[in-house]
Assembly symmetry: C2
Homo-oligomer: 267 residues x 2
């Protein structure tokens, strides 16, 4: 099911700035039993991302009405683009955004991804530093596409990306956390990466549960010394990392605890 | 006139990777009296850009047939995307590229842009360094969009962009050259920027005409000391810069000579 500006359709104008320039933002979220999970946060993030690109964001009620028309259990994707273009990069003052709301089936990940953990590839591609776009889930995703092309072994569930300095930033489709000496670490995303809603929840709920959390630089060798590594996003939830960059982790107590914490809350 | 995979239409699938991820490349070229200018070069560049992103490039004859159906005098745009997506960044092995060939009217630039030169804004946005994407005319153009938003004064014809180190890279829609002490300089684009076909022609023809040319780092203060600054792309041709960053240039002999050189050749 796809709705373009609220109307069932599966095509957009070939002159949409989303296509021409990747001029737009998106959200991926899970619908379960008719509920769009963590919707208040998802919408807050959409508003913030639109504001960062000076895009006008559809009203919450409009998007909620669209989401209600999707299957009760699915992955929902919301795209907001800057709408139609004249020739050239300049924005027409009267441009109306295009909103695309679409569903796809919930992916079936192996249970072992949650219990045993996943195998992760270290990507060769390094993320560029662009503070003006960092954190935003925008439609310029060629770095993710190129990074994802680096492996086709189905046993590998994700790839981790570093920045040019060699610091760990994120997965191609997830945020990364690690646990060491009583502290939960996740990379600072002020120069590159996407700051996901699940990352925000993890930081918030872990802190509320009394865990020490730290957002900052995360050099690769620091990650390799972690007692546990975890990946998260709004669809997968939390996956422990079992194998990465030549090391195997078999302990997963913190990941289990965090996953429980995330599943127990609906906000 | 817009052709999608050779068929007159003005919409593309909402599931096209060009829209979802900016996963594609494009070319903008001028058609004059039924001729697609510098087509051999334009096609070579399209092939190279597709190869850099592991995209399959349509055959020259297929694109030529599309171009022939556009107006005899127009701006033609060719977009090649990676086609339809499954959910996620991974590329389907059997994905067929989408090709979009579209026309827009030739823009009417004031004659004074060529004779007197143009006023240029110094952009505050700094281009990110990404060697894997540098030089390629891909669909991830949010930096250009944000840079173009920095001014709305119609007297300003273009904005110049620096990289994070403060070196001059390009205009939002053009490449930049400067002339000083007998040498024509243009920035190295191995870390950011788009290496346009008109830039390639300028480098080649200037060298053939006996001018010393140099591709390398171009710090802003070096640009400010230039005797002349020029902008070029396949639609505008060559514009001298008259006003930029607080300085005015009124000499334009080299720009006139180069423009003549570019117009005299049809390759």
């Amino acid at each position: 099911m796809t709705l373009i500006d609220g109307i069932p359709a599966d095509v957009v104008s070939a002159n949409d700035r989303g296509l021409l320039y990747g001029d737009g933002v998106f959200r991926t979220l899970k619908r379960a039993e008719g509920v769009s999970l963590y919707w208040a946060r998802q919408y807050r993030k959409l508003v913030a991302d639109c504001a960062a690109l000076h895009l006008s964001c559809p009203a919450a009620a409009v998007l909620e009405a669209d989401l209600e028309r999707l299957p009760r259990d699915c992955v929902a994707k919301i795209i907001v683009t800057r709408g139609l273009a004249a020739r050239g990069y300049a924005v027409l003052p009267d441009a109306l955004p295009t909103r695309i709301v679409t569903s796809s089936p919930l992916p079936l990940y192996p249970r072992s991804h949650y219990t045993m953990g996943v195998k992760v590839h270290l990507c060769g591609l390094r993320l560029a530093s662009q503070p003006r776009l960092a954190g935003i889930k925008h439609l310029n995703r060629l770095e993710n596409v190129l990074a994802r092309m680096e492996w086709d072994d189905p046993a590998i569930a994700e790839g981790l990306l570093l920045d040019a300095a060699g610091d760990v930033i994120e997965g191609t489709m997830s945020n990364v956390f690690c646990y060491r000496a009583g502290v939960l670490h996740t990379p600072d995303l002020s120069c590159c990466g996407v700051a996901g809603v699940q990352r925000e929840r993890m930081l918030e709920f872990a802190a509320e549960s009394g865990m020490a959390v730290r957002v900052g630089k995360l050099p690769l060798d620091r990650l390799m010394e972690a007692e546990e590594i975890m990946l998260c996003n709004s669809v997968i939830g939390v996956w422990p990392v079992r194998e990465f960059n030549g090391r195997v982790w078999d302990k997963g107590g913190v990941a289990v605890r965090l996953r429980q914490l995330m599943e127990d809350r609906d906000d």
